[in-house]
């Protein structure tokens, strides 16, 4: 299965997930967007040697995932696909920062390993929360939310167009890639030059398409302004959702609950 098909399926599946009807899906997109942003900022604000204090933050994606009926393994696999960059940067930490910060029995653990783990945990949390956001909100709603929250309309509209035509163009592009693959042998014919021609053709077709779309818009009275007959309604539910989660995040940021709980337990045992 080629990469392009996989990407298409990914988009399609995320889009399907966002079409579900669960309490989480029904929330106003602005509430979810804002909460996710606060979530990410609090997670990222933790010190680089902190791991245990971050753990309670897993509760948020876990709750969203189960209430939104999202498939855990699928989202987790998606995170694994993009982890390499963070891994590559993070893996230098254990090499450089060899100062021993912690000993458990015979094992001594350097600061580098701790900060590396911290990066990975943060990565999983932040990347995961974004995927959860899209899977339980949908891209179009996120765009609407962005616009309502002050993003320039032209930018939001542009995002909508982009998203809409990804579905069309990926099919076109994959057919072209397919046609090329069937007449290429031993890796011949897949070089940069042919790639340039291929993209050039695709681009010409794309521009022609843009012209036709513009015409279709003109025919329906387009005057440079895109209007949408839709209003988002944020009620008490949304306010409670946002405020409660934010309070939770900040509380978790201030108090290291695992540490408190852990010392309580270890004290009990010892």
């Amino acid at each position: 299965m080629s990469r392009i098909q996989t990407a298409f399926l990914d988009l399609g599946l995320m889009d399907t997930l966002s079409g579900k009807d669960t309490p989480v899906h029904r929330l106003d997109p602005r509430a979810k967007l804002l909460t996710t942003l606060i979530f990410i900022i609090t997670v990222v604000s933790f010190g680089k040697y902190e791991i245990s204090a971050i753990i309670p933050f897993f509760i948020f994606p876990a709750v969203m995932m189960s209430l939104g009926e999202l498939p855990f393994y699928y989202l987790f696999r998606k995170i694994l696909i993009v982890i390499p960059f963070a891994f590559m940067i993070g893996i230098f930490n254990p090499l450089i920062d060899r100062e021993i910060l912690m000993r458990i029995g015979l094992f001594s653990i350097s600061g580098g390993w701790i900060s590396f783990c911290s990066i990975m945990v943060k990565f999983i949390l932040t990347a995961g929360s974004v995927l959860v956001l899209i899977a339980c909100t949908g891209f179009n709603s996120v765009c609407m939310a962005l616009e309502k929250m002050g993003a320039p309309r032209i930018f939001a509209v542009q995002l909508l167009f982009l998203y809409r035509y990804i579905f069309v163009l990926i099919v076109e592009a994959s057919r072209m890639a397919n046609a090329r693959a069937l007449r290429s042998f031993d890796g011949k014919g897949k070089g940069m030059k042919v790639f340039g021609y291929l993209l050039g053709h695709l681009l010409l077709r794309t521009i022609d398409r843009a012209q036709r779309i513009y015409l279709a818009m003109l025919c329906r009275g387009f005057d440079g302004e895109i209007r949408v007959n839709r209003h988002l309604e944020a009620g008490m539910r949304e306010v409670i959702f946002t405020v409660a989660w934010s309070a939770f995040f900040i509380a978790m940021r201030v108090y290291n609950i695992p540490l408190i709980a852990g010392s309580f337990i270890t004290e009990l045992i010892l």
Binding site: I4, A7, D10, L37, I40, I41, T42, S45, F46, G47, K48, Y49, I51, S52, I55, A62, V63, S66, L67, F85, A86, N93, I96, E99, I100, L101, M102, I104, K122, F123, L125, T126, V130, F139, V142, P152, R153, I154, F155, V157, L159, F161, L162, Y165, I166, V168, L169, I170, G191, M192, G196, L199, L203, T206, I207, Y214, V254, N256, P258, S263
Partner: protein, 352 residues
Amino acid sequence: MHMADALISPAVGGTMWAASAGLIAYCSKKVRDDVDDIKIPLMGVVGAFIFASQMINFTIPGTGSSGHLGGGMILAILLGPYAAFLTMASVLTVQALFFADGGLLALGCNIFNLGFFPCFIAYPFIYKKIAGEQPTQQRIMAGALAASILGLQMGAFGVVLETLFSGISELHFRTFVLLMQPIHLAIGIIEGLVTAAVVTFVWKARPEILEMAATAKPVRHLSLRNVIAGLLVFAAITGGALSWFASANPDGLEWAMFHVSGKEELESPEKGLHSMLGAIQEKTAFLPDYSFKNPEEKEGHAKTGEGEPAANSGEDGKWPTVSAGTSVSGLVGGALVLVLAAFIGFALKKRS
């Protein structure tokens, strides 16, 4: 080279968000004022094109590995800088949201690195200058190549600075630069060649498409002076944010210096190192005042910070007890909470 949320600090992320949001607002206004309505569908569809094209690979000669089109430069050539910047921003937004490729907070950094440099520096001052008013195939080739390489070099440098200022990675400035720039030189050359190939193809097939972009009026308005002024304003904002950040953490600037200049030079005075290591903890704290943090936790961290050089000199008697205690508690508690989180998720699922 998409930055991830996990690698940046809130201050850096926030600053770059502000910068990118400002640029988006500015470009939106510019595109709005442009009489040419067709730009609206064109931007969206060409953005989708960039996205789709990134999914097709080609074989990089002699290596067997494969590459794809990055986008910023070709967008600038096709759409002009303002529309191209907006389009690049949307492409990156979709990538961030759907493929978790670059996070939500890091989006500002990515838009700036991959959008600003190619559209507002490399395109007007490199590509336009080389390709000129009456482009030839050679000029387009040279211009696209030079502009792509430069754009990516600046973008890569942006990644380096943002990472260092965030202080999450231990990489030294020099190592990091030596790592990033050559890799992105290679990527830039390939990107440049592909961009040139596509642009010359379009130029030969339908020259009017490129003329449309080249003669669109916004390009002329983009003077070096404006760009420099913009950069200065941005630097002032960044500086402001960072100094706010530094003043809340007295050692912050010192710490930044330490990171940028590499460890060795500042290592000699033991005191300096201590305070710096201590500062690292505070630096990355969300709320800059200690009182917000659990005193016990702070205690533990501060101790480890101080204890470290002591360990080197052989007196490792005191700290492990305290630290191990807290660490073990942390681990036990962490595991507990993790189980709890999983349980909550599971229970909710069962019910619904």
